[in-house]
């Protein structure tokens, strides 16, 4: 009937609705997903199904055969203290289910909004469902559309651009200055948590070399071994300063340890190639006047957290734009699906009418044997044209009703044909 899409159901839980103790009860590995899909279909609980299981969500997208059986299936799960988990589950139906899948795949429902891994995880879930032949006339087009919508959101909004975390903020600034970190050298002064976090982010963004110095040399040797850096004795920091394109300070020193004079000399020694300094320490480790030097760019911990805030704000804006896009896409998908439904219904109607026509033509042939071949052909053409003309208006009405989502009208219009059939 019209509105196969209305039968679509999304059942599941995510980091928004359930703590990890509950999520882990439902989480499945790839084999588990296969077995569950098989069971749901074998026991005739669902017609079509796809299961997404990641560390943040376990969700079933399905065309159910029996909602009661599905509720029973989920009623079988128990939390860590033997309690039912129903209260953590959400059940989205029809348009809401479509929108939810789009949101998930476009990384709008993720813990870190905009993170790129989720699309791969959804893709994997689609592949498993496809291999288990669990995708049908609704889920197959839906999953295809989901992939293209997710890619569209990623390419047309800024959702993936702004990353969170102090480390990433440091990388973003470095990229804004250098364009890329290939061939760049960073000196980390002090091995505290924050400093290491930024250094690690820089390393994974392609930094060439990490020099590590610390008041106690042994610590810098340890940290250097852990992160693949080069330890530098603390007393020789100033000698190494000209080699560093990026200087990262995070010590508990009470007085500035990097002075304007030191940076000015370092710049001269490195022929005024740009130096980017991040001071994560409070009280500050680098004299603030360093920023007034022509080729030095100094950012302190407040500047960095402003970059983080800016990223958050920009991402919220992007998320808003993306949600609006998903609304439109969900409507578009459901309309296309209805069109497919209607087409098969209308083909049925046309077949019924054709059966009537051929039967009537055959009857009149039996009654009058006097017709010759050209006359029979004319009769055939005449009846065909007549049927087509008569069907045209009601068919257009059905299409219009379907396009407008008026499934009541569609049913009424189509029922007339079914009744005639009986």
């Amino acid at each position: 009937m019209a509105g196969e899409g209305d039968r679509l159901l999304a059942v599941g839980l995510s980091h928004h609705t359930a703590p990890v103790e509950i999520r882990e009860r439902l989480a499945l590995d790839e084999d588990g997903v296969r077995r569950t899909l098989e069971r749901l279909r074998r026991e005739e609980i669902v017609e079509e199904a796809m299961l997404i299981s990641t560390c943040n969500r376990v969700e079933l997208y399905t065309i159910p055969r029996s909602i009661e059986a599905l509720q029973e299936f989920y009623g079988g799960f128990r939390g860590p203290n033997g309690e039912r988990i129903d209260s953590h589950l959400y059940w989205h139906r029809g348009r809401d289910a479509v929108k939810h899948l789009f949101r998930v795949a476009a990384s709008l429902d993720s813990l870190v909004v905009g993170e790129p891994q989720i699309l791969g995880q959804v893709k994997n879930a689609v592949r498993i469902a496809e291999e288990s032949s669990a995708l049908g006339q609704v889920l197959h087009p839906l999953t295809q559309r989901t992939m293209s919508v997710a890619k569209k959101v990623r390419s047309q909004t800024d959702i993936g651009k702004n990353r969170v975390g102090v480390g990433n903020a440091g990388v973003d600034l470095a990229l804004q200055i250098f364009g890329g970190l290939e061939g760049k050298r960073c000196m980390l002064v002090g091995v505290g948590e924050m400093g290491r976090q930024v250094a690690v982010a820089l390393m994974s963004a392609g930094l060439e070399e990490l020099l590590i110095t610390n008041r106690t040399f042994e610590r810098s040797v340890d940290v250097a071994a852990e992160y693949g850096g080069t330890p530098v004795p603390y007393e020789r920091m100033e000698d190494y300063l000209p080699r560093a394109d990026i200087v990262l300070t995070a010590t508990s020193a009470q007085q500035p340890i990097v002075t304007v004079a030191m940076v000015r000399k370092a710049l001269r020694d490195r022929h005024y190639r740009t130096v980017f300094l991040i001071d994560l320490a409070v009280p500050r480790n680098i004299e603030p006047q360093v920023d007034e030097l022509e080729d030095a760019y100094l950012f302190n911990v407040d500047d960095l957290s402003r970059v983080v805030e800016q990223g958050k704000a920009a991402r919220e804006q992007a998320a808003q734009a993306a949600l609006e896009m998903l609304d439109v896409e969900a409507d578009r998908f459901l309309a296309a699906l209805r069109q497919v439904d209607i087409n098969s219904d209308l083909r049925g109607v046309a077949e019924v009418a054709e059966a009537f026509r051929t039967a009537e033509v055959a009857r009149s042939r039996r009654l009058t044997n006097t017709l010759d071949e050209p006359q029979l052909e004319a009769l055939d053409a005449l009846t065909k044209a007549l049927v087509k003309k008569l069907l045209h208006r009601p068919m257009m009405a059905v299409r219009t009703a379907a396009r407008e989502g008026d499934s009541g009208a569609v049913q009424t219009l189509l029922r007339q044909w079914k009744d005639d059939d009986e």
Partner: protein, 268 residues
Amino acid sequence: MERLPYIAVLVAWGFISMGHLLPDIVGEASRRHSRTVAVVAVALHAATLLAGLFLSPHPTGFPEALSGMALGIGIAYVSVVHRRLRALGMLLAPLAIVILGTSQVVPHRSVQALEHTGYSVWLPIHLGLIFSGLAGFALSSVVGGVYLWARRRLKQKRFANMSRLPSLEVLDRIQFRAMLFGFVFLTLGIGAGGAWAAASLQELWAVDSKIWFTLLIWAWYGAALQVRLVAGRRGRWTALFSIVGFGGLLFSLVGLNFLLAGWHTYGG
């Protein structure tokens, strides 16, 4: 009829500028073709200009000079606008419109010297080299402006929409390369002019104020390159040299030719 190709080129740049300035109106799909449109526009422009230089009944003058410069900017657009450098296109495309548009409305004046020498194959060579150089300097100064702006934002710790701009290092590299390109071609262009003068005139015409001024600008850019390559001062220094230098070139191009008397002056 003669202006028709130029009008087509202007329309093309209008479309490209719209794509940069009002992306919502032009739409993503057509925006993707803006570089192709630019390539076609540049080809048409070059063909029109060359045909004009060789076939036109009136001798070469100020409009052709401006048109040549607009062509250079178009070439600069095609060669830099891809990937993260889209931001530059936003400046280059409207600049091409303004300069080409001006070339279409200014009165036609030809250079004094041509009345003495007549047409020579040296003319397109001299002009082509000089205006290729000018286009390089134009690109360099535009990028220099963007560099100064981007740098100021970083120094003021203003981070909104940060990732939309190319990085400082990339901007610096482009402004330098464009300047180097401009310098090489300006040098060759001056050389060609000198050779032409030596070949066609009895006396050497070093008395021309335009020549003196151009040599001054040549020395200015030479100094800019020295400061960068020898002293290592890049970034803001290169940008400032570039912007001041191009301002001087514009003055020389527009002002000197009309105001002062000499071989390069536009006659009636």
